[in-house]
Symmetry: none
Subunit: 144 residues, 4 copies
Protein backbone atom coordinates (compact mmCIF):
# COMPACT_ATOMS: atom_id res chain seq x y z
CA UNK A 1 0.00 0.00 0.00
CA UNK A 2 1.23 3.48 -0.89
CA UNK A 3 0.98 6.57 1.26
CA UNK A 4 1.19 10.12 0.01
CA UNK A 5 4.41 11.71 1.32
CA UNK A 6 5.30 15.40 1.34
CA UNK A 7 7.97 14.64 -1.24
CA UNK A 8 5.35 13.17 -3.60
CA UNK A 9 3.02 16.11 -2.99
CA UNK A 10 5.75 18.62 -3.85
CA UNK A 11 6.55 16.78 -7.10
CA UNK A 12 2.87 16.83 -8.06
CA UNK A 13 2.56 20.56 -7.41
CA UNK A 14 5.72 21.49 -9.24
CA UNK A 15 4.77 19.38 -12.28
CA UNK A 16 1.25 20.84 -12.32
CA UNK A 17 2.63 24.38 -12.21
CA UNK A 18 5.13 23.52 -14.96
CA UNK A 19 2.23 22.24 -17.08
CA UNK A 20 0.35 25.46 -16.42
CA UNK A 21 3.33 27.52 -17.57
CA UNK A 22 3.84 25.32 -20.64
CA UNK A 23 0.27 25.72 -21.90
CA UNK A 24 -0.06 29.32 -20.79
CA UNK A 25 -2.57 29.05 -17.95
CA UNK A 26 -3.43 31.89 -15.60
CA UNK A 27 -1.90 31.89 -12.09
CA UNK A 28 -2.90 28.68 -10.31
CA UNK A 29 -3.37 27.44 -6.78
CA UNK A 30 -2.62 23.75 -6.27
CA UNK A 31 -3.57 21.74 -3.19
CA UNK A 32 -2.59 18.15 -2.46
CA UNK A 33 -4.58 16.23 0.16
CA UNK A 34 -3.87 12.83 1.65
CA UNK A 35 -6.39 9.97 1.53
CA UNK A 36 -8.06 11.25 4.70
CA UNK A 37 -8.73 14.65 3.13
CA UNK A 38 -6.02 16.55 5.00
CA UNK A 39 -3.71 19.07 3.35
CA UNK A 40 -0.15 17.90 2.68
CA UNK A 41 1.09 20.83 0.57
CA UNK A 42 -0.28 23.89 -1.18
CA UNK A 43 1.15 26.61 -3.41
CA UNK A 44 -0.66 29.72 -4.59
CA UNK A 45 1.04 31.51 -7.48
CA UNK A 46 1.45 35.29 -7.48
CA UNK A 47 -1.76 36.80 -8.81
CA UNK A 48 -3.98 33.86 -7.82
CA UNK A 49 -6.89 35.34 -5.87
CA UNK A 50 -7.55 35.11 -2.15
CA UNK A 51 -10.15 32.32 -1.93
CA UNK A 52 -8.19 30.02 -4.24
CA UNK A 53 -6.72 27.91 -1.40
CA UNK A 54 -10.23 26.96 -0.28
CA UNK A 55 -11.36 26.34 -3.88
CA UNK A 56 -8.42 24.10 -4.70
CA UNK A 57 -8.78 22.20 -1.42
CA UNK A 58 -12.56 21.96 -1.90
CA UNK A 59 -12.23 20.32 -5.29
CA UNK A 60 -9.80 17.76 -3.93
CA UNK A 61 -11.85 17.19 -0.78
CA UNK A 62 -15.04 16.70 -2.77
CA UNK A 63 -13.36 14.00 -4.85
CA UNK A 64 -12.20 12.15 -1.73
CA UNK A 65 -15.56 12.59 0.01
CA UNK A 66 -17.39 10.52 -2.58
CA UNK A 67 -14.53 8.50 -4.03
CA UNK A 68 -14.77 10.01 -7.53
CA UNK A 69 -13.04 12.89 -9.32
CA UNK A 70 -14.89 16.20 -8.97
CA UNK A 71 -16.08 15.99 -12.60
CA UNK A 72 -18.54 13.38 -11.25
CA UNK A 73 -19.81 15.91 -8.71
CA UNK A 74 -20.17 18.51 -11.47
CA UNK A 75 -22.35 16.11 -13.47
CA UNK A 76 -24.46 15.28 -10.42
CA UNK A 77 -24.86 18.97 -9.60
CA UNK A 78 -26.63 19.31 -12.94
CA UNK A 79 -28.80 16.18 -12.75
CA UNK A 80 -29.38 16.04 -8.98
CA UNK A 81 -28.66 19.52 -7.58
CA UNK A 82 -30.34 18.67 -4.29
CA UNK A 83 -27.92 15.80 -3.74
CA UNK A 84 -24.79 17.88 -4.26
CA UNK A 85 -26.17 20.74 -2.16
CA UNK A 86 -26.90 18.28 0.62
CA UNK A 87 -23.42 16.76 0.38
CA UNK A 88 -22.02 20.21 0.94
CA UNK A 89 -24.25 20.66 3.97
CA UNK A 90 -22.90 17.41 5.40
CA UNK A 91 -19.36 18.55 4.56
CA UNK A 92 -19.71 21.97 6.19
CA UNK A 93 -19.46 23.75 2.85
CA UNK A 94 -16.08 22.24 2.06
CA UNK A 95 -16.87 20.80 -1.38
CA UNK A 96 -16.35 22.64 -4.71
CA UNK A 97 -18.22 20.42 -7.21
CA UNK A 98 -16.55 21.35 -10.51
CA UNK A 99 -13.76 19.66 -12.51
CA UNK A 100 -10.21 20.08 -11.26
CA UNK A 101 -10.35 17.78 -8.25
CA UNK A 102 -8.59 14.57 -9.30
CA UNK A 103 -8.08 11.39 -7.29
CA UNK A 104 -4.57 9.94 -7.07
CA UNK A 105 -4.87 6.17 -7.46
CA UNK A 106 -2.26 3.49 -7.07
CA UNK A 107 -2.79 2.06 -10.57
CA UNK A 108 -5.96 1.84 -12.66
CA UNK A 109 -8.91 1.27 -10.28
CA UNK A 110 -6.37 1.01 -7.46
CA UNK A 111 -6.44 2.36 -3.96
CA UNK A 112 -7.00 6.11 -3.45
CA UNK A 113 -3.88 7.63 -1.88
CA UNK A 114 -4.93 11.28 -2.06
CA UNK A 115 -6.25 13.98 -4.36
CA UNK A 116 -5.11 17.09 -6.19
CA UNK A 117 -7.24 20.19 -6.52
CA UNK A 118 -6.38 23.03 -8.89
CA UNK A 119 -8.06 26.35 -9.61
CA UNK A 120 -7.22 29.51 -11.52
CA UNK A 121 -7.96 28.84 -15.18
CA UNK A 122 -10.97 27.08 -16.75
CA UNK A 123 -12.05 23.95 -14.90
CA UNK A 124 -10.95 21.79 -17.84
CA UNK A 125 -7.50 23.36 -17.87
CA UNK A 126 -7.22 23.09 -14.10
CA UNK A 127 -7.95 19.40 -14.45
CA UNK A 128 -5.36 18.96 -17.19
CA UNK A 129 -2.70 20.45 -14.93
CA UNK A 130 -3.75 18.09 -12.12
CA UNK A 131 -3.46 15.10 -14.42
CA UNK A 132 0.05 16.20 -15.43
CA UNK A 133 1.01 16.53 -11.78
CA UNK A 134 -0.16 13.03 -10.94
CA UNK A 135 1.62 11.56 -13.98
CA UNK A 136 4.87 13.05 -12.67
CA UNK A 137 4.88 10.62 -9.73
CA UNK A 138 3.80 7.66 -11.83
CA UNK A 139 0.35 7.35 -10.26
CA UNK A 140 -3.06 7.14 -11.96
CA UNK A 141 -5.38 10.14 -12.23
CA UNK A 142 -9.13 9.58 -11.74
CA UNK A 143 -11.07 12.64 -12.94
CA UNK A 144 -14.55 11.22 -12.21
CA UNK B 1 -43.91 -0.45 22.26
CA UNK B 2 -40.80 -1.59 20.47
CA UNK B 3 -37.46 0.05 20.89
CA UNK B 4 -34.49 -0.31 18.61
CA UNK B 5 -31.75 -2.20 20.48
CA UNK B 6 -28.09 -2.47 19.51
CA UNK B 7 -28.69 -6.14 18.83
CA UNK B 8 -31.43 -5.30 16.30
CA UNK B 9 -29.25 -2.62 14.68
CA UNK B 10 -26.41 -5.06 14.23
CA UNK B 11 -28.71 -7.62 12.59
CA UNK B 12 -29.98 -4.95 10.20
CA UNK B 13 -26.47 -3.90 9.20
CA UNK B 14 -25.19 -7.40 8.71
CA UNK B 15 -28.22 -8.38 6.60
CA UNK B 16 -27.91 -5.22 4.50
CA UNK B 17 -24.23 -5.92 3.85
CA UNK B 18 -25.05 -9.53 3.00
CA UNK B 19 -27.62 -8.28 0.49
CA UNK B 20 -25.03 -5.94 -0.99
CA UNK B 21 -22.58 -8.81 -1.41
CA UNK B 22 -25.26 -11.04 -2.91
CA UNK B 23 -26.27 -8.58 -5.63
CA UNK B 24 -22.74 -7.29 -6.22
CA UNK B 25 -22.95 -3.75 -4.88
CA UNK B 26 -19.96 -1.46 -4.37
CA UNK B 27 -18.58 -1.04 -0.83
CA UNK B 28 -21.35 0.31 1.40
CA UNK B 29 -21.70 2.34 4.57
CA UNK B 30 -24.73 1.50 6.70
CA UNK B 31 -26.02 3.62 9.58
CA UNK B 32 -28.85 2.71 11.95
CA UNK B 33 -30.51 5.49 13.96
CA UNK B 34 -33.04 5.18 16.77
CA UNK B 35 -36.42 6.94 16.75
CA UNK B 36 -34.79 10.05 18.22
CA UNK B 37 -32.41 10.32 15.28
CA UNK B 38 -29.33 9.21 17.21
CA UNK B 39 -26.80 6.72 15.88
CA UNK B 40 -27.02 3.19 17.31
CA UNK B 41 -24.52 1.44 15.03
CA UNK B 42 -22.57 2.08 11.84
CA UNK B 43 -20.25 0.07 9.62
CA UNK B 44 -18.22 1.42 6.69
CA UNK B 45 -16.87 -1.27 4.39
CA UNK B 46 -13.28 -1.15 3.15
CA UNK B 47 -13.15 1.14 0.10
CA UNK B 48 -16.25 3.17 1.03
CA UNK B 49 -15.20 6.82 0.79
CA UNK B 50 -14.62 9.23 3.65
CA UNK B 51 -17.86 11.24 3.71
CA UNK B 52 -20.03 8.10 3.57
CA UNK B 53 -20.76 7.99 7.33
CA UNK B 54 -22.36 11.45 7.09
CA UNK B 55 -24.22 10.52 3.89
CA UNK B 56 -25.65 7.30 5.34
CA UNK B 57 -26.61 9.01 8.59
CA UNK B 58 -28.05 11.97 6.67
CA UNK B 59 -30.39 9.76 4.64
CA UNK B 60 -31.68 8.06 7.78
CA UNK B 61 -31.92 11.32 9.68
CA UNK B 62 -33.85 12.96 6.85
CA UNK B 63 -36.37 10.13 6.89
CA UNK B 64 -36.92 10.49 10.63
CA UNK B 65 -37.00 14.28 10.37
CA UNK B 66 -40.13 14.26 8.22
CA UNK B 67 -41.58 10.84 9.09
CA UNK B 68 -41.17 9.47 5.56
CA UNK B 69 -38.51 7.47 3.76
CA UNK B 70 -35.92 9.65 2.01
CA UNK B 71 -37.40 8.80 -1.41
CA UNK B 72 -40.16 11.24 -0.40
CA UNK B 73 -37.52 13.92 0.23
CA UNK B 74 -35.96 13.21 -3.17
CA UNK B 75 -39.32 13.75 -4.89
CA UNK B 76 -39.88 16.98 -2.97
CA UNK B 77 -36.37 18.19 -3.82
CA UNK B 78 -37.41 18.07 -7.46
CA UNK B 79 -40.86 19.63 -7.13
CA UNK B 80 -40.22 21.99 -4.20
CA UNK B 81 -36.46 22.53 -3.94
CA UNK B 82 -36.92 25.54 -1.65
CA UNK B 83 -38.70 23.32 0.87
CA UNK B 84 -35.96 20.71 1.05
CA UNK B 85 -33.26 23.39 1.19
CA UNK B 86 -35.11 25.04 4.06
CA UNK B 87 -35.47 21.71 5.86
CA UNK B 88 -31.72 21.29 5.62
CA UNK B 89 -31.21 24.78 6.98
CA UNK B 90 -33.36 23.88 9.96
CA UNK B 91 -31.45 20.60 10.32
CA UNK B 92 -28.01 22.18 10.21
CA UNK B 93 -27.18 20.48 6.93
CA UNK B 94 -27.79 17.01 8.31
CA UNK B 95 -30.23 15.74 5.69
CA UNK B 96 -29.30 13.89 2.48
CA UNK B 97 -32.54 13.92 0.43
CA UNK B 98 -32.06 10.96 -1.91
CA UNK B 99 -33.33 7.36 -1.72
CA UNK B 100 -31.60 5.01 0.69
CA UNK B 101 -32.96 6.34 3.98
CA UNK B 102 -35.69 3.93 5.09
CA UNK B 103 -37.92 4.10 8.16
CA UNK B 104 -38.19 1.03 10.39
CA UNK B 105 -41.85 0.61 11.36
CA UNK B 106 -43.46 -1.78 13.80
CA UNK B 107 -45.87 -3.24 11.27
CA UNK B 108 -47.57 -1.60 8.26
CA UNK B 109 -48.31 2.03 9.18
CA UNK B 110 -47.07 1.24 12.68
CA UNK B 111 -44.87 3.19 15.04
CA UNK B 112 -41.47 4.42 13.79
CA UNK B 113 -38.73 2.76 15.83
CA UNK B 114 -35.74 4.03 13.85
CA UNK B 115 -34.26 4.34 10.38
CA UNK B 116 -31.54 2.83 8.21
CA UNK B 117 -29.38 4.88 5.84
CA UNK B 118 -27.17 3.30 3.19
CA UNK B 119 -24.79 4.79 0.62
CA UNK B 120 -22.15 3.49 -1.77
CA UNK B 121 -23.98 2.23 -4.85
CA UNK B 122 -26.86 3.81 -6.78
CA UNK B 123 -29.55 5.27 -4.55
CA UNK B 124 -32.00 2.58 -5.66
CA UNK B 125 -29.58 -0.20 -4.80
CA UNK B 126 -28.73 1.42 -1.49
CA UNK B 127 -32.44 1.40 -0.68
CA UNK B 128 -32.83 -2.25 -1.66
CA UNK B 129 -30.10 -3.20 0.79
CA UNK B 130 -31.80 -1.19 3.53
CA UNK B 131 -35.09 -2.97 2.90
CA UNK B 132 -33.34 -6.33 3.17
CA UNK B 133 -31.78 -5.28 6.45
CA UNK B 134 -35.12 -4.29 7.96
CA UNK B 135 -36.76 -7.52 6.78
CA UNK B 136 -34.12 -9.47 8.68
CA UNK B 137 -35.55 -8.32 12.01
CA UNK B 138 -39.16 -8.81 10.95
CA UNK B 139 -40.01 -5.11 10.86
CA UNK B 140 -41.64 -3.06 8.10
CA UNK B 141 -39.62 -0.85 5.74
CA UNK B 142 -41.09 2.53 4.72
CA UNK B 143 -39.16 3.95 1.75
CA UNK B 144 -41.27 7.12 1.38
CA UNK C 1 2.17 -0.18 6.42
CA UNK C 2 -1.09 -1.24 8.04
CA UNK C 3 -4.53 0.10 7.28
CA UNK C 4 -7.50 -0.11 9.59
CA UNK C 5 -10.11 -2.44 8.05
CA UNK C 6 -13.75 -2.81 9.06
CA UNK C 7 -12.92 -6.30 10.30
CA UNK C 8 -10.25 -4.89 12.64
CA UNK C 9 -12.61 -2.15 13.84
CA UNK C 10 -15.30 -4.68 14.68
CA UNK C 11 -12.85 -6.80 16.69
CA UNK C 12 -11.76 -3.71 18.63
CA UNK C 13 -15.34 -2.75 19.47
CA UNK C 14 -16.39 -6.22 20.50
CA UNK C 15 -13.33 -6.65 22.72
CA UNK C 16 -13.85 -3.23 24.31
CA UNK C 17 -17.49 -4.07 25.07
CA UNK C 18 -16.46 -7.45 26.47
CA UNK C 19 -13.98 -5.69 28.75
CA UNK C 20 -16.72 -3.31 29.86
CA UNK C 21 -18.99 -6.24 30.72
CA UNK C 22 -16.18 -8.05 32.52
CA UNK C 23 -15.35 -5.13 34.83
CA UNK C 24 -18.94 -4.00 35.24
CA UNK C 25 -18.93 -0.70 33.35
CA UNK C 26 -22.06 1.27 32.51
CA UNK C 27 -23.43 1.09 28.95
CA UNK C 28 -20.76 2.26 26.53
CA UNK C 29 -20.52 3.79 23.10
CA UNK C 30 -17.43 2.84 21.12
CA UNK C 31 -16.25 4.57 17.94
CA UNK C 32 -13.36 3.49 15.74
CA UNK C 33 -11.89 6.02 13.30
CA UNK C 34 -9.32 5.49 10.57
CA UNK C 35 -6.06 7.44 10.40
CA UNK C 36 -7.79 10.27 8.54
CA UNK C 37 -10.33 10.74 11.33
CA UNK C 38 -13.26 9.12 9.54
CA UNK C 39 -15.65 6.70 11.23
CA UNK C 40 -15.19 3.01 10.37
CA UNK C 41 -17.57 1.47 12.90
CA UNK C 42 -19.59 2.47 15.95
CA UNK C 43 -21.78 0.70 18.48
CA UNK C 44 -23.91 2.34 21.16
CA UNK C 45 -25.11 -0.05 23.86
CA UNK C 46 -28.70 0.02 25.08
CA UNK C 47 -28.99 2.71 27.74
CA UNK C 48 -26.04 4.77 26.48
CA UNK C 49 -27.32 8.34 26.10
CA UNK C 50 -28.03 10.24 22.92
CA UNK C 51 -24.90 12.38 22.48
CA UNK C 52 -22.54 9.48 23.16
CA UNK C 53 -21.75 8.85 19.46
CA UNK C 54 -20.39 12.41 19.16
CA UNK C 55 -18.51 12.10 22.46
CA UNK C 56 -16.87 8.80 21.55
CA UNK C 57 -15.99 10.07 18.06
CA UNK C 58 -14.74 13.38 19.49
CA UNK C 59 -12.31 11.67 21.85
CA UNK C 60 -10.89 9.59 19.01
CA UNK C 61 -10.82 12.54 16.61
CA UNK C 62 -9.03 14.75 19.14
CA UNK C 63 -6.32 12.14 19.54
CA UNK C 64 -5.78 11.93 15.78
CA UNK C 65 -5.91 15.71 15.37
CA UNK C 66 -2.80 16.25 17.47
CA UNK C 67 -1.16 12.84 17.22
CA UNK C 68 -1.49 12.00 20.93
CA UNK C 69 -4.04 10.12 23.02
CA UNK C 70 -6.77 12.34 24.43
CA UNK C 71 -5.25 12.14 27.92
CA UNK C 72 -2.65 14.57 26.53
CA UNK C 73 -5.45 16.94 25.54
CA UNK C 74 -6.96 16.62 29.01
CA UNK C 75 -3.64 17.65 30.59
CA UNK C 76 -3.28 20.60 28.20
CA UNK C 77 -6.84 21.70 28.91
CA UNK C 78 -5.76 22.19 32.50
CA UNK C 79 -2.41 23.89 31.86
CA UNK C 80 -3.24 25.77 28.63
CA UNK C 81 -7.04 26.00 28.42
CA UNK C 82 -6.84 28.64 25.68
CA UNK C 83 -4.91 26.23 23.46
CA UNK C 84 -7.42 23.39 23.75
CA UNK C 85 -10.36 25.76 23.31
CA UNK C 86 -8.72 27.14 20.18
CA UNK C 87 -8.05 23.63 18.83
CA UNK C 88 -11.75 22.95 19.16
CA UNK C 89 -12.53 26.13 17.28
CA UNK C 90 -10.27 25.01 14.45
CA UNK C 91 -11.89 21.57 14.57
CA UNK C 92 -15.45 22.86 14.44
CA UNK C 93 -16.18 21.66 17.96
CA UNK C 94 -15.33 18.06 17.13
CA UNK C 95 -12.82 17.42 19.90
CA UNK C 96 -13.65 15.98 23.35
CA UNK C 97 -10.45 16.56 25.35
CA UNK C 98 -10.72 13.95 28.11
CA UNK C 99 -9.22 10.46 28.49
CA UNK C 100 -10.80 7.65 26.48
CA UNK C 101 -9.51 8.57 23.01
CA UNK C 102 -6.64 6.20 22.30
CA UNK C 103 -4.40 6.04 19.23
CA UNK C 104 -3.93 2.70 17.51
CA UNK C 105 -0.25 2.38 16.60
CA UNK C 106 1.53 -0.23 14.55
CA UNK C 107 3.98 -1.14 17.29
CA UNK C 108 5.56 1.03 20.01
CA UNK C 109 6.07 4.52 18.55
CA UNK C 110 4.90 3.16 15.20
CA UNK C 111 2.62 4.63 12.60
CA UNK C 112 -0.86 5.78 13.63
CA UNK C 113 -3.46 3.63 11.86
CA UNK C 114 -6.56 4.96 13.63
CA UNK C 115 -8.08 5.71 17.02
CA UNK C 116 -10.70 4.36 19.40
CA UNK C 117 -12.98 6.60 21.43
CA UNK C 118 -15.12 5.30 24.29
CA UNK C 119 -17.61 7.00 26.59
CA UNK C 120 -20.17 5.92 29.18
CA UNK C 121 -18.29 5.24 32.40
CA UNK C 122 -15.50 7.27 34.05
CA UNK C 123 -12.90 8.55 31.62
CA UNK C 124 -10.29 6.23 33.13
CA UNK C 125 -12.54 3.20 32.71
CA UNK C 126 -13.46 4.25 29.19
CA UNK C 127 -9.76 4.36 28.39
CA UNK C 128 -9.15 0.93 29.93
CA UNK C 129 -11.81 -0.55 27.65
CA UNK C 130 -10.21 1.12 24.63
CA UNK C 131 -6.82 -0.32 25.53
CA UNK C 132 -8.37 -3.79 25.78
CA UNK C 133 -9.96 -3.35 22.37
CA UNK C 134 -6.69 -2.40 20.73
CA UNK C 135 -4.86 -5.29 22.40
CA UNK C 136 -7.37 -7.67 20.81
CA UNK C 137 -5.99 -6.94 17.33
CA UNK C 138 -2.37 -7.03 18.45
CA UNK C 139 -1.74 -3.32 17.98
CA UNK C 140 -0.25 -0.78 20.41
CA UNK C 141 -2.42 1.63 22.39
CA UNK C 142 -1.17 5.23 22.86
CA UNK C 143 -3.21 6.96 25.57
CA UNK C 144 -1.30 10.28 25.45
CA UNK D 1 6.30 48.34 -0.71
CA UNK D 2 7.13 44.68 -0.43
CA UNK D 3 4.70 41.94 -1.18
CA UNK D 4 4.99 38.32 -0.15
CA UNK D 5 5.57 36.22 -3.29
CA UNK D 6 5.26 32.44 -3.60
CA UNK D 7 9.01 32.32 -4.12
CA UNK D 8 9.59 34.06 -0.78
CA UNK D 9 7.08 31.80 0.97
CA UNK D 10 8.83 28.70 -0.33
CA UNK D 11 12.22 29.95 0.90
CA UNK D 12 10.73 30.61 4.34
CA UNK D 13 9.22 27.13 4.57
CA UNK D 14 12.33 25.35 3.39
CA UNK D 15 14.55 27.30 5.79
CA UNK D 16 12.18 26.64 8.69
CA UNK D 17 12.15 22.92 7.94
CA UNK D 18 15.94 22.93 7.64
CA UNK D 19 16.13 24.58 11.07
CA UNK D 20 13.80 21.95 12.46
CA UNK D 21 15.99 19.18 11.09
CA UNK D 22 19.14 20.88 12.41
CA UNK D 23 17.89 21.14 16.00
CA UNK D 24 16.05 17.80 15.94
CA UNK D 25 12.41 18.90 16.08
CA UNK D 26 9.46 16.58 15.57
CA UNK D 27 7.70 16.60 12.17
CA UNK D 28 6.43 20.13 11.49
CA UNK D 29 3.69 21.81 9.50
CA UNK D 30 4.54 25.27 8.20
CA UNK D 31 2.05 27.75 6.76
CA UNK D 32 2.85 31.10 5.18
CA UNK D 33 0.05 33.68 4.84
CA UNK D 34 0.11 36.98 2.99
CA UNK D 35 -0.71 40.32 4.62
CA UNK D 36 -4.42 39.71 3.94
CA UNK D 37 -4.38 36.48 5.96
CA UNK D 38 -4.62 34.18 2.95
CA UNK D 39 -2.51 31.06 2.51
CA UNK D 40 0.40 31.34 0.05
CA UNK D 41 2.11 28.01 0.72
CA UNK D 42 2.00 25.16 3.20
CA UNK D 43 3.98 21.98 3.79
CA UNK D 44 3.10 19.21 6.27
CA UNK D 45 5.98 16.83 6.96
CA UNK D 46 5.40 13.07 7.04
CA UNK D 47 4.15 12.16 10.52
CA UNK D 48 2.71 15.59 11.34
CA UNK D 49 -0.86 14.99 12.54
CA UNK D 50 -4.08 15.75 10.68
CA UNK D 51 -5.20 19.01 12.29
CA UNK D 52 -1.73 20.60 11.94
CA UNK D 53 -2.57 22.60 8.78
CA UNK D 54 -5.33 24.40 10.68
CA UNK D 55 -3.10 24.88 13.74
CA UNK D 56 -0.21 26.34 11.73
CA UNK D 57 -2.54 28.59 9.73
CA UNK D 58 -4.37 29.60 12.91
CA UNK D 59 -1.19 30.77 14.61
CA UNK D 60 -0.21 32.88 11.60
CA UNK D 61 -3.75 34.18 11.15
CA UNK D 62 -4.00 35.15 14.80
CA UNK D 63 -0.79 37.18 14.51
CA UNK D 64 -2.11 39.04 11.46
CA UNK D 65 -5.52 39.49 13.08
CA UNK D 66 -4.13 41.64 15.88
CA UNK D 67 -0.87 42.86 14.33
CA UNK D 68 1.34 41.08 16.86
CA UNK D 69 3.09 37.73 16.97
CA UNK D 70 0.98 34.97 18.53
CA UNK D 71 3.12 35.03 21.69
CA UNK D 72 1.20 38.23 22.48
CA UNK D 73 -2.06 36.33 22.11
CA UNK D 74 -0.78 33.59 24.41
CA UNK D 75 0.01 36.16 27.11
CA UNK D 76 -3.41 37.75 26.72
CA UNK D 77 -5.10 34.34 26.87
CA UNK D 78 -3.68 34.01 30.38
CA UNK D 79 -4.42 37.52 31.65
CA UNK D 80 -7.61 38.26 29.70
CA UNK D 81 -9.07 34.92 28.54
CA UNK D 82 -12.42 36.52 27.72
CA UNK D 83 -10.70 38.80 25.21
CA UNK D 84 -8.97 36.00 23.32
CA UNK D 85 -12.13 33.87 23.35
CA UNK D 86 -14.07 36.79 21.94
CA UNK D 87 -11.44 37.35 19.25
CA UNK D 88 -11.85 33.74 18.23
CA UNK D 89 -15.61 34.18 18.12
CA UNK D 90 -15.14 37.12 15.78
CA UNK D 91 -12.66 35.09 13.73
CA UNK D 92 -14.89 32.04 13.38
CA UNK D 93 -12.53 29.89 15.44
CA UNK D 94 -9.58 30.53 13.16
CA UNK D 95 -7.07 31.72 15.77
CA UNK D 96 -4.62 29.49 17.68
CA UNK D 97 -3.30 31.77 20.46
CA UNK D 98 0.01 30.14 21.35
CA UNK D 99 3.59 30.97 20.27
CA UNK D 100 4.66 29.94 16.79
CA UNK D 101 2.79 32.54 14.73
CA UNK D 102 5.33 35.15 13.69
CA UNK D 103 4.78 38.34 11.69
CA UNK D 104 7.03 39.01 8.69
CA UNK D 105 7.99 42.70 8.77
CA UNK D 106 9.87 44.77 6.21
CA UNK D 107 12.52 45.94 8.66
CA UNK D 108 12.29 46.61 12.41
CA UNK D 109 8.84 48.08 13.09
CA UNK D 110 8.24 48.05 9.35
CA UNK D 111 5.23 47.09 7.30
CA UNK D 112 3.66 43.67 7.85
CA UNK D 113 3.97 41.65 4.64
CA UNK D 114 2.67 38.32 5.97
CA UNK D 115 3.04 35.75 8.74
CA UNK D 116 4.46 32.28 9.33
CA UNK D 117 2.76 29.69 11.52
CA UNK D 118 4.48 26.51 12.66
CA UNK D 119 3.32 23.57 14.76
CA UNK D 120 4.60 20.13 15.66
CA UNK D 121 7.10 20.57 18.48
CA UNK D 122 6.86 22.76 21.61
CA UNK D 123 5.49 26.22 20.93
CA UNK D 124 8.90 27.78 21.69
CA UNK D 125 10.66 25.50 19.22
CA UNK D 126 7.98 26.09 16.61
CA UNK D 127 8.62 29.82 16.97
CA UNK D 128 12.39 29.39 16.66
CA UNK D 129 11.90 27.60 13.34
CA UNK D 130 9.62 30.40 12.13
CA UNK D 131 12.23 33.02 13.02
CA UNK D 132 14.85 31.08 11.07
CA UNK D 133 12.54 30.92 8.07
CA UNK D 134 11.98 34.67 8.06
CA UNK D 135 15.69 35.38 8.45
CA UNK D 136 16.32 33.38 5.30
CA UNK D 137 14.60 36.01 3.17
CA UNK D 138 16.21 38.92 5.00
CA UNK D 139 13.02 40.14 6.64
CA UNK D 140 12.32 40.91 10.29
CA UNK D 141 10.49 38.47 12.59
CA UNK D 142 7.99 39.87 15.12
CA UNK D 143 7.10 37.20 17.68
CA UNK D 144 4.76 39.37 19.78
Amino acid sequence: MSKLSLSMAEKIIDAALAKGAEIGLKPLTVAVLDAGGHLVALKRQDGSSILRPQIASGKAYGALAVGAGSRWLNANAETRPHFVQALNGAAGGGIIPVPGGVLIRDGEGGEIIGAVGITGDTSDNDEAAAVAGIAAIGKTADCG
